[in-house]
């Protein structure tokens, strides 16, 4: 009992740190529940300039990047009910929307997406799982920052859409295993809930 309690406290402190920097999931919750425009405005102020920067680094002109960033943020609103905070942080989720928009706009390819799980995001995802995903993504961020420059640049080039680097493998020692296990658990739970 005693041990559990102290571990719990330790976890709380770490969670507060992670939360201050990356917890945008509450904003999405407010958009889903109350169509909260103020929450969206804050989300927009933080993410739209990053999405625009990401698109320009991927080769979009400023005009196209502006247009696409607005489109991405509109999609964030329209898809907010599909966001699952136990499987991705808001940054990760917005990255996937921006990536998809980039493929549509710059490559003009069709972009098949996997079908959604039979059971959507849980209405009340376990808080501990949401926290853990944020923490582990934060650790991943720290690990990416700590990579030697050449290696980090290679990853950036791959993710920012430089096609000549499509062959990159993620064997960089990044802490992806724990994130994968968490996502796997979340998927199992959703499948189980459906039965």
């Amino acid at each position: 009992m005693c041990k559990d309690a102290s571990e719990g406290k330790h976890l709380d402190r770490k969670q507060d740190g992670a939360r201050a920097e990356n917890d945008w999931s509450g904003h999405l919750g407010r958009i889903v529940e109350a169509q909260d425009r103020a929450a969206f405005a804050e989300l927009f102020a933080h993410f739209a300039p990053r999405v625009k920067s990401f698109l320009m680094r991927s080769g979009a002109s400023p005009t196209l990047a502006e247009d696409c960033a607005q489109e991405v943020m509109a999609t964030v609103w329209n898809k907010s009910h599909l966001y699952d905070p136990t499987r991705a942080t808001v940054s990760t989720w917005i990255f996937t929307i921006a990536r998809n928009r980039r493929i549509d706009a710059l490559r003009k390819d069709r972009r098949p997406e996997p079908e959604d799980l039979p059971w959507g995001p849980e209405p009340e995802p376990p808080v501990a799982d949401v926290m853990a995903m944020q923490q582990e993504t934060e650790m991943l961020r720290v690990a990416i920052r700590a990579l030697p420059d050449a290696q980090r640049e290679l990853i950036e080039q791959a993710y920012f859409g430089d096609l000549s680097h499509r062959e990159i493998a993620a064997r960089t020692g990044l802490p992806l295993g724990t994130i994968k296990s968490r996502i796997r658990l979340a998927l199992d739970r959703l499948r189980h809930a459906m039965k």
Binding site: N22, R110, P112, Y159
Partner: protein, 215 residues
């Protein structure tokens, strides 16, 4: 269901998928496999977290002064995006149904000889995708590969020199592998095959058909 899959996508492929760098045909293969395989789906989503971290750190570019207002205008004309839920009894996962326009009955097969049929799917020319129909117990004649070819079973099963492949299993064949897949006797086998060598009809089809003609 998903635990029966033994042959998965490679990390290289999943990374390129997460980064958004795959040609359309390979994207279709990954999306179809992820629809059936939670293990690869979790790996792909973990790799997407790398993208999330990079986005968080990639700097900012100022948006136009009226950008927020303009975005609200887009929102008011848009609609909520419905989830793409699976249809439990279909053979083709949703990404493939989008290309075929329905389930197996909607596939427009073209015979390529000895009961084997194929249907080329419309993708960008950087890589090509096709569905293959192999009658129960039949063999696809030995064929080499230009570039990388991925074959995923959707119905039935096939075996070759490498192993036996059932629904969801992906066989990765490079130029070295010369193999002769044989469908299980119990059920017709349907596969999705993609290759990064564009299909050259004039050379590829004779190559597939020739061995039959010699029989």
């Amino acid at each position: 269901m998903t635990e029966t899959i033994k042959h998965h996508l490679t990390d290289t492929l999943l990374t390129a998928y997460a980064a958004g760098n795959l040609p359309e045909a390979f994207n279709l293969m990954v999306a179809t496999h992820l629809s059936l395989c939670d293990s690869c789906r979790a790996q792909a989503e973990a790799l997407e977290a790398v993208g999330g971290c990079l986005l968080a750190e990639c700097g900012t570019e100022a948006m136009a002064a009226d950008a927020l207002e303009a975005t609200f205008a887009r929102i008011s004309t848009g609609t909520a995006v419905p989830a793409r839920r699976r249809n439990a009894c279909s053979v083709l996962p949703q990404p493939l149904r989008d290309y075929v326009g329905g389930d197996v009955s909607a596939i427009r097969w073209k015979p390529v000889g000895m009961g084997v049929r194929q249907a080329i799917l419309p993708t960008s020319s950087a890589a090509s995708a096709r569905l293959l129909f192999i009658p129960a117990g039949a063999a696809v004649p030995d064929h080499g590969h230009r570039g990388v070819e991925l074959t995923m079973v959707l119905q039935g099963a096939f075996s070759d020199e490498v192993d036996r492949f059932t629904r969801g299993d992906v066989e990765v064949a490079d130029e070295e592998l010369e193999h002769m897949p044989v469908a299980d006797p119990g059920e017709d086998c349907i596969c999705l095959a993609v290759t990064d060598a564009p299909l050259r009809f004039n050379s590829w089809i004779p190559r597939l058909v020739q061995p039959f003609l010699r029989i």
